[in-house]
C-alpha cells in the first residue's frame, strides 16, 4: 500500500457520499435481541451511526460483536427489535441491505484456485456491476490494497494478511454506503494495520458510515469518531469518542472498568449506568456535530 493512502482512496473508484453529512442516519438499531437457544447473544442493543462516522465496537470475546454485525449485514434475523441500514430494514429487506452494505466477517475463506483479480471480479458480478465498471473497481481496489502485483496469482499463494486485505477489497467492490468490518486488523502486520486505519479514516471522510470491531483498543480509539462497548449483549457505553474517553486514561481502561467480570456491581455500577444512560443521546450529538 502506498503511504498516502487517504488520497489514493479518495482518487479511487470509491465515491464521496454527497457533500455535507447527509440528513438522518446511515445505520440505526433499536432494541436488538438475538438468542441462540438459551444463550442471549444480544440483549437489547440500540445505537446509530451517521454518514461519515467511524463507529468502533469494543467487547470481550463472546460479547456479541459478531452477532451484531451479522444482524446489521442482513445475515441473521433479530428475535426482537429492528435495525435499518441506509433506509432498508434488515429483517424485511435483507437483499436490499446486502446490496447497500459491505461486510467483512471475522473468519472467512477464499476460493483458493482463483486469482486475486478473478476473486474480486466474481463478487463484482454478484453485485451486478456492469463489466467495465467492475474491471475498473477491481484494478483500483487491488492497487488500494497493495495487491496490484498479485492480480494474476492464485489465492493459495497469498499470505493470510494479503487474503485479509483482499477480503476487505471485496467488501468495497460495490462501493457500499455502510461498511461493517469484523476485526479486520486481526492477523495484519503493523504496517498493514496502520494503513488499514488510514483507509478507514479516509472512508469515513468520504461520508461512508463504518462500524469496525477490534480487540486492539488503542488502535480502535485512534481511528474511531465514536465508540461503543458491548458487554454480554448490552451496549454498556456508546457515544462520541472524545467525550467518552475524556474521563479515563484511554479506551482500554474504560473497557476494563466497564466489563469487570467478578465485580458484583458489574456493568451496572454507577459509572457505567451514567454512561449507558447517556449513550444514545451522545451518539446523536456526535453525529450532529460531526
Amino acid at each position: 500500500m502506498s503511504a498516502s493512502l487517504g488520497t489514493v482512496a479518495a482518487q479511487s473508484g470509491l465515491t464521496q457520499v454527497d457533500g455535507e453529512p447527509a440528513p438522518g442516519v446511515a445505520l440505526r438499531a433499536e432494541g436488538l435481541v438475538k438468542r441462540f437457544g438459551a444463550a442471549v447473544a444480544l440483549a437489547g442493543v440500540s445505537f446509530e451511526v451517521a454518514p461519515g462516522e467511524v463507529f468502533g465496537l469494543a467487547g470481550a470475546n463472546g460479547a456479541g460483536k459478531t452477532t451484531l454485525l451479522k444482524v446489521l449485514a442482513g445475515l441473521c434475523r433479530p428475535d426482537e427489535g429492528w435495525a435499518e441500514v441506509a433506509g432498508a430494514d434488515v429483517a424485511t429487506e435483507p437483499v436490499r441491505v446486502r446490496q447497500l452494505v459491505g461486510y467483512m466477517p471475522d473468519r472467512f475463506g477464499v476460493y483458493e484456485s482463483m486469482t486475486a483479480g478473478e476473486y474480486l471480479s466474481f463478487y463484482a458480478s454478484c453485485y451486478r456491476l456492469p463489466r467495465q465498471h467492475a474491471e475498473r473497481a477491481v484494478t483500483d481496489l487491488l492497487a488500494l490494497m497493495g495487491l496490484a502485483a498479485k492480480r494474476d496469482e492464485q489465492l493459495n499463494a497469498l499470505s493470510q494478511g494479503m487474503k485479509q486485505r483482499l477480503c476487505l477489497a471485496r467488501a468495497l467492490v460495490h462501493d457500499p454506503e455502510v461498511l461493517l468490518l469484523d476485526e479486520p486488523a486481526a492477523g495484519l502486520d503493523p504496517r498493514a494495520r496502520a494503513e488499514l486505519r488510514e483507509l478507514v479514516a479516509a472512508l469515513g471522510e468520504m461520508g461512508k458510515a463504518v462500524v469496525i470491531s477490534s480487540q486492539i483498543l488503542a488502535e480502535l480509539a485512534e481511528v474511531s469518531t465514536s465508540i461503543g462497548i458491548l458487554h454480554e449483549g448490552v451496549m454498556v457505553a456508546s457515544g462520541n469518542a472524545e467525550q467518552l474517553l475524556a474521563g479515563s486514561e484511554g479506551l482500554e481502561e474504560l473497557f476494563l472498568s466497564l466489563t469487570e467480570r467478578e465485580d458484583p456491581e458489574g456493568p451496572a455500577g454507577p459509572t457505567t449506568g451514567g454512561l449507558a444512560g447517556e449513550g444514545t443521546g451522545e451518539d446523536e450529538e456526535g453525529a450532529a456535530t460531526k
Binding site: 479511487s12 465515491t15 471485496r170
Partner: protein, 338 residues
C-alpha cells in the same frame, strides 16, 4: 494507476442509482426481465473453477475410456457374429443399448460426487457466508450450482456422441431413440442432482454430504423396485411379479433402473398415454420400442392412462427433482437468515 474521480462515478453510485435501475424490469421491458432471470454469476464461477483443476480432466479421461471400452466390445461382438456388411445392418440397437447403459451408470456415479460438495464445500471453506452476504438469492445460488453440474454432465454425454453415431450407422436406431435417451438422462440426472443438492445444503461437511448423496442414489435406484416386489409378495403370496398395475407398478417405476430397462429393452410395449409419443410420435417412429411387447414395460398411472414405464419414470422423477430443488432452496434460505 487510479481512475479519475469523474470517470468512476458509475462504480460508486452502483447501489444507489445504476444498481436499482438495472434491476427494475419495467425499464427495459421483456429482454431485461429475461436477462435478470437468466443472470447467474455462480454458473460461470463454478465452471471456471471446475475446469481449472486436474480433477475434471481425469474424470473425462476415465469416463471416455469406460464408454470407449464398452463401445469397442459391443462393436467387436457384432463384427464377430456377422460375416458381412449386410448382416451387420440393423444390429446397431445392441451397441446403442450397451453404450446408453454405460453412459447412464457413469453419469449416476459422477453426479453425487459433483454436486454434494458444491454448497457443503463452500460452507466448509468459509466462503458460503461471503456468498450469502451478496444480494444473490439462495435460489439463484442453488440453481447456478445445479446448472453448472448439469452442464458438465451434458458435456460428458455429448463427448460420446461419435460412438452413438457408429450405432446409428450400423442401423437399427433412429432419431427417436436418441431423443428418448437424452430426455431420460436429463431427467434422471436432474433428479439425482437435486437430491444431492438437498444433502449439500443440509449437511455441514463435504464427506457427510457425499456419503448421503450416494446413499440417496442407491435408494432411488434400488429402493422402489425392492419395495414393490416385497409389497407384491406380501399382497399376493406366490406370484411375486410386478405387472405395472396398481401401487406396486407406480412404485416400481420410480426407479431409474426400471425406467432404463423399459427404455432400452427392444421388446418394450407401447402405452396408450405417455409424454413423448404425442410430441415425437409422427416425427420419428420408434425403431427399438416397437409396440406389442410384454406388459411389464407399461405402467398404469390411474387417471393418466397406461404409460410406457420409462415415461412414467421420467414424470415421477421429474416431480421428485422439483420437490428436492424447492426444499434445497428453502433450507439454504433458512441458513442465509437464521
Amino acid at each position: 494507476m487510479m481512475a479519475a474521480p469523474t470517470a468512476t462515478a458509475p462504480l460508486g453510485n452502483a447501489p444507489a442509482s445504476t444498481g436499482r435501475a438495472r434491476r427494475s424490469p419495467t425499464a427495459g421491458g421483456a429482454s431485461r426481465l429475461i436477462s435478470s432471470l437468466v443472470w447467474n454469476p455462480v454458473i460461470a464461477k463454478e465452471l471456471r473453477l471446475r475446469m481449472r483443476g486436474w480433477h475434471t480432466a481425469l474424470l473425462l479421461t476415465g469416463y471416455l475410456c469406460v464408454i470407449g471400452g464398452v463401445g469397442y466390445l459391443g462393436y467387436s461382438g457384432i463384427a464377430a457374429s456377422s460375416s458381412d456388411v449386410v448382416q451387420v445392418g440393423g444390429t446397431g440397437s445392441s451397441l446403442f443399448t450397451g453404450l446408453a447403459a454405460a453412459v447412464m451408470v457413469s453419469v449416476a456415479l459422477v453426479i453425487p460426487g459433483l454436486v454434494a460438495p458444491s454448497v457443503s464445500g463452500e460452507r466448509e471453506r468459509g466462503t458460503l457466508e461471503l456468498l450469502l452476504a451478496t444480494p444473490l438469492r439462495p435460489a439463484r445460488i442453488v440453481v447456478g450450482k445445479l446448472v453448472a453440474a448439469l452442464a458438465l454432465v451434458g458435456f460428458l454425454v455429448l463427448a460420446c456422441a461419435p460412438l452413438f453415431c457408429v450405432a446409428y450407422l450400423l442401423g437399427g436406431v433412429g432419431v427417436r431413440e436418441a431423443l428418448e435417451l437424452v430426455a431420460f438422462i436429463f431427467v434422471g440426472t436432474s433428479c439425482l442432482a437435486a437430491l444431492s443438492m438437498l444433502a449439500s445444503v443440509s449437511l455441514r461437511r463435504v464427506p457427510a454430504a457425499t456419503v448421503v448423496s450416494y446413499l440417496a442414489m442407491l435408494v432411488l435406484a434400488a429402493g422402489p423396485f425392492t419395495a414393490a416386489y416385497v409389497w407384491q409378495a406380501v399382497a399376493t403370496p406366490g406370484s411375486p411379479t410386478v405387472t405395472g398395475t396398481g401401487g406396486q407398478g407406480v412404485l416400481e417405476a420410480v426407479s431409474p433402473i426400471m425406467g432404463a430397462d423399459a427404455l432400452l429393452n427392444s421388446n418394450s410395449a407401447c402405452g396408450t398415454g405417455g409424454l413423448l409419443t404425442p410430441i415425437v410420435g409422427n416425427l420419428a417412429p420408434p425403431v427399438i420400442n416397437t409396440c406389442g411387447g410384454p406388459s411389464q414395460y407399461t405402467t398404469n398411472l390411474g387417471p393418466l392412462g397406461n404409460w410406457q414405464t420409462w415415461e412414467a419414470t421420467l414424470a415421477i422423477d421429474g416431480v421428485v427433482a422439483i420437490g428436492a430443488l424447492g426444499t434445497s432452496v428453502l433450507v439454504l434460505t433458512k441458513r442465509a437468515l437464521p
